[in-house]
């Protein structure tokens, strides 16, 4: 999953956002009419979509299904440009600084810290969700915040990911399903577990989950950063991580630099547990032949973090109309269903199934997610929201101080 899907932000005034969302709702009837105008305007144009290009599965989904559909439906030529979100946000910053009114990017795949960075520097065009008819199928409460940063309609949801652990059921029939069990398992199996070093997004999500689990759940953190609460609770996390440290891979002297490095260790059997911030990752790795067929996933009982990823339009996009039409198509039930199929990609839908017509609902329910992917209900049961960014930054900084560098 993209690097930019993960990281988080400050909660500002919930109230303002709630009002904004209500406002968008009132405007929905107007949306259809003005959307027709956008469709007219964008006929025969090209949309350049800047997105993370590290997954062949996702790339081919965009290059075949999405680009063929938008060509056929709206006569739009879709051009996928692979780039890391941090890099295109940088590019936008430079364009803003040099006063370039007509940019090069039409649509961005973005979330988390990159969205925050873009908003703080006024790099996005919007609000846009009120212009998209497909947004009526989204439960606005689920996209009020992006890693704790208010969305305010400046990005349109497009998929959802949840944190899972991966293991080979062939040689590990009963994986540890809570942080308490994980600790004793790690001690009994020295060298068989590790996590990517934060600020890698997956490693960072792992320590956030441990933070929730070891300090009494996520609810207490949802109101934004409380220094006192953090100072009181964080030592429990450092104590836990330092306790397992000598039993980690390489005796905890070093950590895999990113999730790709940990994936490699898991594929070769150097470690017995892996993790992913994408619930369908194991299934698609099996389909690609990189994982054994016996690999399965589980969520830790203490709670597993999920987040939403989005599309957004830059302030200087040359083809804003076309970008909105494509964003709307990506959010449409048909595209979401197609994307949710593990054969195509397996990314979960951002739609609220209750808002769909019964026929569509049953098509979603009939999806075969593959044996390695947990059921929607199992995932939903364990799902907990991301932490506000203030905590995230402190956790990453102090992990370096109290875990990585502690002797």
């Amino acid at each position: 999953m993209p690097r930019f899907l993960f990281k988080q932000m400050k909660i500002i005034l919930r109230l303002i956002t709630a009002i904004m969302v209500l406002f968008c709702w009132a405007n929905l009837s107007q949306a259809d009419e003005s959307f027709d105008k956008l469709v007219q305007e964008s006929r025969g144009t090209t949309v350049k979509w800047f997105m993370w290009g590290g997954s062949p599965t996702i790339n081919s989904w965009v290059d075949t299904y999405v680009s063929e559909e938008v060509k056929q439906r709206y006569d739009i030529t879709l051009k996928r440009v692979p780039a890391d979100a941090a890099i295109f946000v940088n590019k936008l910053l430079t364009e803003k600084q040099t006063g370039r009114k007509r940019g090069t990017m039409d649509l961005l795949w973005i979330n988390g810290e990159n969205f925050k960075n873009a908003m703080e520097n006024e790099l996005l065009f919007g609000p846009i969700t009120s212009k998209l008819p497909s947004f009526q199928y989204v439960d606005p409460a689920t996209v009020e915040f992006d890693f704790g940063y208010p969305v305010q309609g400046y990005e349109a949801p497009y998929g959802r990911a949840q944190f899972v652990f991966e293991y080979d059921s062939g040689n590990l029939p009963e994986p540890p399903q809570s942080f308490a069990a994980l600790k004793s398992w790690v001690k009994e199996n020295p060298g068989k577990f590790t996590y990517p070093s934060p600020p890698d997004f997956t490693g960072s999500a792992f320590i956030r989950q441990a933070f929730y689990a070891l300090t009494g759940g996520h609810e207490q953190y949802m109101q934004g950063l409380d220094q006192e609460l953090y100072q009181q609770n964080a030592p429990k996390l450092w104590e836990y991580l330092n306790e397992i440290k000598p039993y980690l891979w390489q005796k905890g002297r070093t950590y895999p630099k990113d999730i790709a490095a940990l994936d490699t260790l898991f594929e070769r059997g150097e470690v017995a547990l892996n993790m992913s911030y994408h619930q369908a990752n194991a299934q698609s790795k099996i389909l690609q032949g990189r994982y054994k067929n016996s690999v399965r996933t589980f969520v830790i009982e203490d709670g597993s973090i999920f987040n939403t990823h989005f599309t957004a339009v830059p302030f200087n996009a040359p083809n804003k109309a076309g970008a909105l039409v494509v964003a709307n198509f990506l959010l449409s039930p048909e595209a979401q269903l197609h994307k949710n199929n593990p054969e195509n990609w397996g990314d979960f839908t951002a739609l609220d199934l209750d808002r769909l017509d019964p026929k569509m609902q049953s098509r979603f329910q009939k999806l075969d997610l593959g044996e390695a992917t947990l059921s929607l209900s199992a995932l939903a049961e364990a799902a907990v929201p991301e932490i506000p960014s203030g905590y995230l930054e402190l956790l990453e900084r102090d992990w370096e101080k109290f875990v990585l560098r502690s002797k």
Binding site: Q97, P199, Q250, R253, T254, E393, L404
Partner: protein, 288 residues
């Protein structure tokens, strides 16, 4: 007039250089002081530098980078010079066959990094061979060569990449050296060693100096190998810069820029002092 002409004719080259490199340097420098940082504002212009030196990690990384770059470069220079000298002393018909040594030259650094991971990791090719030969009972017994605190993996990879470069440079200059001088020295009773150190070495020294600077600066500021190999702590300085630039909050970018500024200034000072020192040495040698 002539001067102006030269400058004018160089302009097509100079302009992009000034605009791209000069502009990049300028922005890096300014952002390290928290200036031109988009919509972020900092009260203290020295915030990034203070932050860097408030902790020993930056210095530890710098020392580690220095150590890796110096060790790898020195060893490469010694081995490369020796090999080049030996090839040069071979009868002429073998020279063209010695071209195999150039293979690592065409491999990119990151390729060498991957080769190292595939070959010497605990579950790598060498470990499998050792297991098949019953030398070890499981991959866990294979010695730990990657991600060590001593940076062995990094140093080995750099030596593999840099030695052929030294050989190319030294061999090129040796081919201009008159072999008969050595023969004469031999007839007058000089040992092999003696004639190498008193005749050949001073001749190739200027090239060795240049090569040393190129390789040292390159591996000191190299990113790809430390990214693939290398340890999480302290880690080479370029990895820390990458983390601050891409992975942390954007408001912390001045810290990345401050590190870049320091690395660049250090490299400049290093080149300047080294050249001054080595040219003075050469002059003294000539006086003798």
């Amino acid at each position: 007039m002539r001067r102006i002409n030269i400058i004018l004719s160089l302009l097509p080259l100079l302009l992009p250089f000034l605009a791209i490199i000069g502009g990049g340097l300028l922005i890096t420098g300014l952002q390290s002081f928290g200036l031109m940082m988009f919509s972020y504002e900092y009260e203290d212009v020295l915030f990034a530098y203070k932050q860097l030196f408030s902790d020993t990690w930056f210095l530890e990384s710098a020392v580690f980078s220095l150590y890796v770059a110096l060790t790898a470069t020195l060893i490469s220079i010694v081995i490369g010079t020796l090999f080049a000298y030996l090839i040069w002393k071979l009868p002429g018909k073998y020279h063209s066959r010695a071209v195999i040594y150039k293979i690592p030259l065409i491999l990119p650094h990151i390729g060498v990094g991957f080769i190292a991971v595939i070959l010497i990791s605990k579950t790598g090719v060498f470990s499998s061979i050792a297991y098949q030969l019953n030398l070890i009972d499981s991959f866990e017994d294979f010695p730990n060569l990657l991600y060590t605190r001593a940076g062995i993996d990094l140093i080995l990879a750099y030596i593999y990449k840099e030695t052929p470069f030294v050989m190319v440079m030294v061999y090129a200059i040796l081919s201009r050296f008159d072999k008969r001088i050595i023969d004469t020295a031999g007839m007058l009773g000089a040992s092999q060693m003696r004639s190498f150190f008193t005749l050949v070495l001073p001749f190739i020294m200027p090239v060795l100096n240049t090569t040393f600077i190129i390789l040292f600066i390159f591996s000191f500021g190299g990113f790809d190998l430390p990214f693939v190999l290398g340890d999480s702590y302290p880690g080479m300085i370029t990895i820390r810069i990458y983390e601050y630039f891409f992975q942390k909050d954007m408001a912390l970018r001045p810290i990345a820029m401050a590190m870049l500024t320091l690395v660049f200034s250090f490299s400049l000072i290093f080149i300047f002092t080294y050249l001054k020192f080595s040219s003075r040495l050469e002059k003294e040698v000539r006086k003798l």
